[in-house]
Each structure stands twice: as structure tokens, then as C-alpha cells.
């Protein structure tokens, strides 16, 4: 644990990619083999399932520290992170625990079959033996949600440097189904594994940042609509069909109409595409797809209400061979032939947008929302399929967000990185009777200076306080941007927006000038 906790501290204390890489390489050079494999698993989201109920963890920590339960919960909210909160609350430890990471993970794995009292003893025993930072790391291991600012790419590059391998080779070896309990370092990184579910690392596009004319001529580019679904990779080898998410999680069970479809089995192909809820020849809003996400079992009703398709846009493996290095137009031609041959409504081709000039493409872009798309994807015809997020041959060109002007009516103290400041604001628009109706919260989008000024303003204009929240005089107007909007029964306003954020503080506007609920409803129609 000590070595691993030191690695986490080193990664946490620097924003420099070079230093993070150095720390990783050094760790992989020194750590015991089993710890190394576990570290890769943890950094690639192959965590074991949460093994302890977090309510119990809070209760145990509170009792150990002599702090009432309500105060533990308040601290948790303010710290914004339960692992950190509990590590801070517990009384000083003895710093005598010498478990390795792998031993610790084995211990945690054994809790599934033990009763609560035994698990409590084990957790308290480990807590007592660790110092504060190690406790934080240990708590992360038992509660899940392990984010440490190490991207997949950074991990891959570090391992590639250590082992003197190509990034792409390491990337491919880390992908797919393997478990740290049953895979050795040698098997993971040095042996060719035969694994029918193995996926290819996704290629991810950067947002378009230059003028279209700088991309060269239109003839060099494929353009597709940017669909508002979830990215998926369909692996069809042998009799099995596997479906992977962009986060490299297996999502076959969530989409039986793809993974159980006989027409998609035995293709000896790997297809990259977008999973969309689809009905009557057009995509359903994202909200429909959302009812299908994150479930272990999909109900018959959900299957009927929000059936999905895979909109295919790339072919990575064909007749058992990796074809990622072939030019996009060759891959596309093979993909078109394959989709035609399969000839089944769940597998559709993502159509190409035809256009003569960049000017024409610009005017087509304005129609994105009518197409229920979020803009365009631009893909270089001659480029290979790359690994990870790289500039050059794929660009995403998103539509401008929707925007409305709204007034701030509640402010809430932030947690985590902004504990101690009011940072979470609730915004309202007018309804038909000129009453203020809250319609969204937003956190991000202001500069540190603006946050500081608004915090001072809040102190002088608070009407009422309840816990971490206060209501403020309805005066400050903000332009709120969001990516999508839909009707909602759960919200008082009757609308729900996607990815809301503060675009700018409109000091030039007054309360009388804010938008209305009717303005929002018009956007749903559009």
C-alpha cells in the first residue's frame, strides 16, 4: 500500500505530464509484480465491485472518531469525496500496516463472503494501521470511483517506455476482458492472448478549432452527422457478439438486440459506431436511450419503447485481420459491403453528407438540430484509424449550444475543490404569470475573479439560509448554455436541459430582460 499510496501522491502533486510519466515508470520498475497488474487494472477501470456499503463505512468511521452521524454527512458533502472525508475524520493511525496493494485487494475481495461484523473488524484494523493519505487511497479502493488524473494514454505511454514497445501494442494488450486476479504481468503485456472479445482502442476526435478552408479541399474529407447517442464497438468473432463502450466497458447485456442478434454473429469483423434509440427511420431523443443505460437487465417494456440500432461508421477488423492502417475510404467501402450483406435493420450505415464546397457544408451545419444531430464529424479519407485522442484526421464540429438568459435565485456552498465558496447556482426564468421558476443548476463557466465578486455580492444579498444553501435577491442575470432540452415531468419547470453551464455573466442585463418558460418550450419543439 505504501508504494501505491506514494505513487498516487506523486501523481496528485503535479500537473506535468512528464512528471506523471516519470512517476509511473519508476513505480512500475520498483513495485512487486502483482501490485503492478493491480495498478493497471485500477487505472483502466477494472475495479472490483464495491465491497462495503458506504453507509456502514460512514457509521464505523463516525463511531471510531466520536463524531455524530449528521456531522459525518455534512463533512462528506463539504469535502465532496467520501474517501477523503473519512480519512480526515479518523483519529491518527499507527502507520504500521505493511500490506501490499495486491494483498489489500485480495483482502477486500474476501469480504463478499464474510459477515458485516468481520468486515467491520477488518476495515477498522486496516484504518488504524495507515496514515492519512494511505487511508484516503484505501478508502478509494473499497468505495470505488478511483480517479487519479491518469489518462489511459498516459498509462499506455509509460508502459510502452518501460517495456520498449509501441504505444499501440501496449494499448491493444491492455484492452478487453482480463482480470487482475487471474492475469500475470507476463501474460498481460508480453503474450499474445487469444481472446475473442478483444476490442481495439477507440480513436477520439478533437473539436474543430480552425477554419474549414485550412483542412484542404472538400474532396479529402468524409463528413457524417455527429449523432447524439453513445459510442460503441461491436466485436463479432466466432459465435459471440460483444459490445464495448467508449470507456471500454462491456455493455452487451444492456443491448440484447445487438449482442443476441444472430445476423450479427460470425462476421469476423469489428465495427465502430454509434448506439442510438431508433424508431421509424429516425433517432429518438437521447432521453429515450438514457432509459437503457447502466442496467444489468433490460425490461421488455424498455426494449419496446426504446429499441436501439448501431449506426456503423468504421470497420477496424475484417475477415479476422486488423485493417486499421488501411485508408479510411477502403475501410468505408468494406463497411458498406458488410452492412449490405448483413442486411438487418439493427445495423445501419452512418450516411455520408454530400457537399460540394466548404460554404455549402457550413449552411448544412445549421440544419444539424433538424437532423437530430449535434453537428458534424469530419474524417480524412486517406487516414488510418488511430489510437486515443489525436489531432489531425478526425474532427468534431458541434452545433452552437442553446442559450437563455436567466436570473440566479439560489446559491450553494461548493464542495470538493471549491469548499468554502458559493459556487453552485440555481437559475430561474419567468413563467406566464411573471413568477420566477427555477429550471437548472449550473456550476462551471465563470472565472475565479467573477466567482470572488459574486461571492461578495451573495454575502450582502442573502435573503434566507438553509444549510449550505441560501436564497438570494433575484438580480444577477447570466447567460446559460446547454446542449439539449426535453420535456420533463420530474422538474417543476417542466423542462430538463443537458450539460448546462454558465456562458457569461450579463452585467448589462436586468431581471426584466430574462427569458421565459415559453421561450424554453419553443426550443423543445425545434
Amino acid at each position: 500500500m505504501k508504494q501505491f499510496a506514494r505513487l498516487i501522491a506523486a501523481l496528485d502533486q503535479t500537473t506535468s505530464t512528464t512528471k506523471k510519466k516519470d512517476a509511473l515508470v519508476q513505480y512500475f520498475r520498483e513495485a512487486p509484480e502483482a501490485d503492478r497488474v493491480w495498478t493497471i487494472a485500477l487505472f483502466t477501470h477494472r475495479r472490483p465491485r464495491r465491497s462495503v456499503n458506504t453507509t456502514l463505512l460512514r457509521a464505523w468511521a463516525g463511531a471510531e472518531a466520536g463524531i455524530p452521524a449528521w456531522l459525518v454527512d455534512e463533512c462528506w458533502h463539504i469535502a465532496g469525496d467520501m474517501s477523503e472525508c473519512l480519512a480526515a475524520l479518523l483519529p491518527a493511525g499507527t502507520n504500521t500496516c505493511s500490506m501490499s496493494l495486491a494483498e489489500c485487494m485480495d483482502e477486500i475481495g474476501s469480504w463478499k463472503s464474510r459477515d458485516t461484523e468481520e468486515v467491520r473488524e477488518a476495515v477498522l484494523g486496516i484504518w488504524r494501521g495507515l496514515e492519512r493519505h494511505e487511508r484516503f487511497v484505501f478508502n478509494k479502493l473499497i468505495t470505488g470511483g478511483f480517479r487519479v488524473g491518469v489518462s489511459q494514454q498516459l498509462l499506455v505511454q509509460s508502459l510502452a517506455r518501460l517495456l520498449n514497445l509501441e504505444d499501440a501494442v501496449v494499448s491493444l494488450r491492455l484492452a478487453g476482458n482480463w482480470s487482475p486476479q487471474s492475469t500475470s504481468w507476463q501474460e498481460l503485456l508480453h503474450d499474445e492472448r487469444s481472446d475473442d472479445a478483444r476490442l481495439y482502442p477507440f480513436y477520439l476526435a478533437y473539436p474543430l478549432e480552425q477554419e474549414l478552408s485550412q483542412l484542404g479541399t472538400p474532396e479529402e474529407w468524409f463528413v457524417e452527422w455527429k449523432w447524439d447517442g453513445i459510442r460503441g464497438q461491436l466485436v463479432s468473432r466466432g459465435a459471440q457478439v460483444h459490445l464495448w463502450s467508449r470507456g471500454e466497458e462491456l455493455i452487451s447485456a444492456q443491448f440484447p438486440e445487438l449482442s443476441q442478434e444472430a445476423a450479427l454473429a460470425g462476421l469476423e469483423a469489428v465495427i465502430d459506431g454509434e448506439i442510438l434509440a431508433w424508431s421509424e427511420d429516425k433517432p429518438l431523443p437521447f432521453q429515450a436511450l438514457q432509459t437503457r443505460l447502466g442496467r444489468k437487465q433490460v425490461s421488455a417494456a424498455a426494449l419496446k419503447k426504446a429499441p436501439v440500432v448501431l449506426l456503423a461508421y468504421d470497420l477496424l477488423e475484417w475477415e479476422g485481420a486488423d485493417i486499421r492502417n488501411r485508408p479510411h475510404q477502403e475501410r468505408r467501402a468494406l463497411l458498406e459491403a458488410l452492412v449490405q450483406r448483413v442486411n438487418h435493420p439493427v445495423l445501419r450505415l452512418s450516411p455520408l453528407v454530400s457537399f460540394e464546397s466548404w460554404q455549402e457544408l457550413k449552411s448544412l451545419h445549421a440544419q444539424s438540430r433538424e437532423q437530430q444531430a449535434e453537428g458534424f464529424m469530419l474524417k480524412q479519407r486517406h487516414a488510418p484509424y488511430q489510437t486515443g485522442r489525436r489531432k489531425g484526421s478526425w474532427w468534431k464540429w458541434k452545433t452552437d449550444p442553446y442559450t437563455v438568459d436567466a436570473v440566479m435565485i439560489y446559491a450553494q456552498r461548493g464542495h470538493g475543490r471549491r469548499a468554502g465558496l458559493y459556487t453552485d447556482f440555481t437559475f430561474a426564468v419567468y413563467d406566464a404569470q411573471r413568477n420566477l421558476v427555477p429550471f437548472t443548476k449550473a456550476y462551471s463557466g465563470l472565472s475565479d475573479d467573477e466567482f470572488a465578486t459574486i461571492n461578495r455580492w451573495i454575502k450582502d444579498h442573502t435573503i434566507e439560509r438553509f444549510g449550505p444553501v441560501c436564497s438570494v435577491e433575484a438580480q444577477l442575470v447570466f447567460e446559460i448554455a446547454f446542449e439539449g432540452i426535453g420535456a420533463s415531468k420530474r422538474h417543476k419547470s417542466g423542462v430538463a436541459v443537458r450539460f448546462p453551464r454558465i456562458l457569461r455573466w450579463r452585467r448589462d442585463k436586468t431581471l426584466a430582460e430574462i427569458n421565459t418558460l415559453d421561450d424554453l418550450r419553443v426550443l423543445i419543439g425545434g
Binding site: 496528485d12 502533486q13 503535479t14 500537473t15 472518531a65 463524531i67 455524530p68 449528521w70 456531522l71 455534512e74 463533512c75 463539504i78 469535502a79 465532496g80 469525496d81 477523503e84 472525508c85 480526515a88 475524520l89 484516503f136 464542495h415 470538493g416 475543490r417 471549491r418 469548499a419 468554502g420 465558496l421 475565479d448 466567482f451 470572488a452 461571492n455 461578495r456 454575502k459 439560509r465 444549510g467
Partner: protein
Amino acid sequence: MLISFTERGFYCAQGDFYIDPWKPVSRAVITHAHADHAYRGHGHYLAHHVSGPVMRLRLGADISLETIEYGEKRYINGVELSLHPAGHIPGSAQVRLAYKDEVWVISGDYKTEDDGLCTPFEPIRCTHFVTESTFGLPLFRWRPQQDVMAELLHWIQSLAAEGRNAFIHAYSLGKAQRLIRALHQAGVPILVHGSVRNTNKALLEAGLNIPDPPMVTAQQHIAPGTVIIAPASAAESSWTKRFEPFGEAAASGWMALRGTRRWMNAERGFALSDHADWDGLRAAVLATGATNVYVTHGYAALFSRYLQEEHGLNAQVVRAQFTGESADMREEEAS
């Protein structure tokens, strides 16, 4: 009640004076010289000797100011007034007021750990205690100062090895001197921002025995491994070009939280505060023996609920326009 909580500040009607008022009044007793406690525009000020020169520096040389020693007594229309060490920054005081059967202590900002720089905090028995709660949550428990300083020194040495300087954000009054004292003892070369230098001069004038490192100037040669101490507001100006390349750290109690460390965007954060931590606040409140506790700036609602439920005290939240140590270090408690 001897003290009432008004919109100008804490008011003692019997003596007709305020303690740390935030709107102009004729007579103000000041706990310490930080800007959120010592406002401009009062008719007359009473404070501790050591606060005098800093208050003149910040509020104007011509203010009407009387200074007294810790423990020295003043009688104002029958109210016995005295100042007692608060351990927050040099010159910081708790104000003790006694009249008939009421004894009030208004503690301003305080910390219970002896930092070697200020006169250490002294608990004062009273019937009514006014306490801050900037870090009034069990999340905040400071490590001993020497441990934090050792870690800081280690960071400075690793920067020196890379040929870099160390730029530390700290309030000009209090935190800066505390860092200078510890780093000076360790033999580290130190340069300071003008606002820190001016504060040092005022404290020297007040009779404090503190090191007086030079200011950063445009042309000087700076050896790698030098520490530069400045308020956080200086970090955003081109002033920092003078001592590039450097690593940046913030010294603040908020650095105890991983989240705020990231928000401040400093490379490193050192949890070093001039405010009492959870254990310090609890111990201070209980040591007064007061049954009436008024909790001001910070996590006031939570801390007072804790005192009510766990210790049976008559604790309540009092609104005051003090900021304490702000999570946004550019907001000035001090400089």
C-alpha cells in the same frame, strides 16, 4: 445583555463602543489588524500595542488610536475591558468585558497552537463567549507546525535541485512572518513582496523580533532555491517574471482539502493556518466555561449545532461580516 449584535457590529451599550465594527462608528475596539476586523472610518480605535503600527500603515497615520498591553485594564462607564492573547497573528487579542455578573470574551480570530511568533492563546473564563468557526468541522485537524514546515523545506530543496525557486502564496500579515521565521531558521534564502516588506517594517517598529528579508527587485541575481513570499494576488501579475523558473505553493488551512488544493491551481498546498482547527475550537470553547456561545464566521450553523447537541451549550449563530481565512486567497483577510 452586555453585548448586542447590530448591523454595525458587536455593540456594548453600557460603554458605548463596538468591537470590530464593519460600519463607521465613533469608538471601536479592534481585536487585530486584518482588514476584515480593522475597518476604516471609525472615530477612535483601541487595540493592542503590536497592532498599532500595522493599523497606522493600513488605515492611515492620522487615525485616533490608543494601544494597550495584554492584561491591562480599562474602565469605560463601569465596564471593565482588557485584551488577552489570541495567538492568531502578532498583536491579535481576545476582548474581555466584565460588568455586573456578565463576563464576555470576544475572541476575534484565534488559533490554539503556539506558532513561536505570536504570544500564545490563553483561555479566559467567561459567561458569554464569541467564537469564530472558519475551520469548524472535524475535517480540519492541523498537523504540528514543525511537520508542515519540514515538508515545505523538503519541497523547496527538491525545487532547488531542479534549479527552480519556490513561490509561496501567503497573507502579508501573520502567515508571511510565520513562514519567514521558520525558513530563516533553516537557513533558506528569502525574498518578499513589497506588501510583506512593509508589514515587516511595521512589526519591527512595534518591537517584534523578526527577520527582515529583502524585497524582490527587477535586476537582482536570484540563486536557485530562493523562497519568494507574496500575497496570492501577486501571482497573477507579471511581477513573477523576475524569479522564473519557480514552483508555486499556497500555505492555507484550506489546503487540507484535496479539492481546494486543485482549485487554487497551485503545484503544492501546505495546510498551515492561523485559525484554530476543529480540536482547537472545541478545546477553546470548553475551556472558557461559558454556557452561552455565539458562533460567527465559518461553518457557524454546523459548529453551533454540535455544541448544542454534544455539549449541551446554549450556542447560536451570529451574523458578522468577517471573512476569516478565505478559500479564495486573493480575497484579503490580511494583505
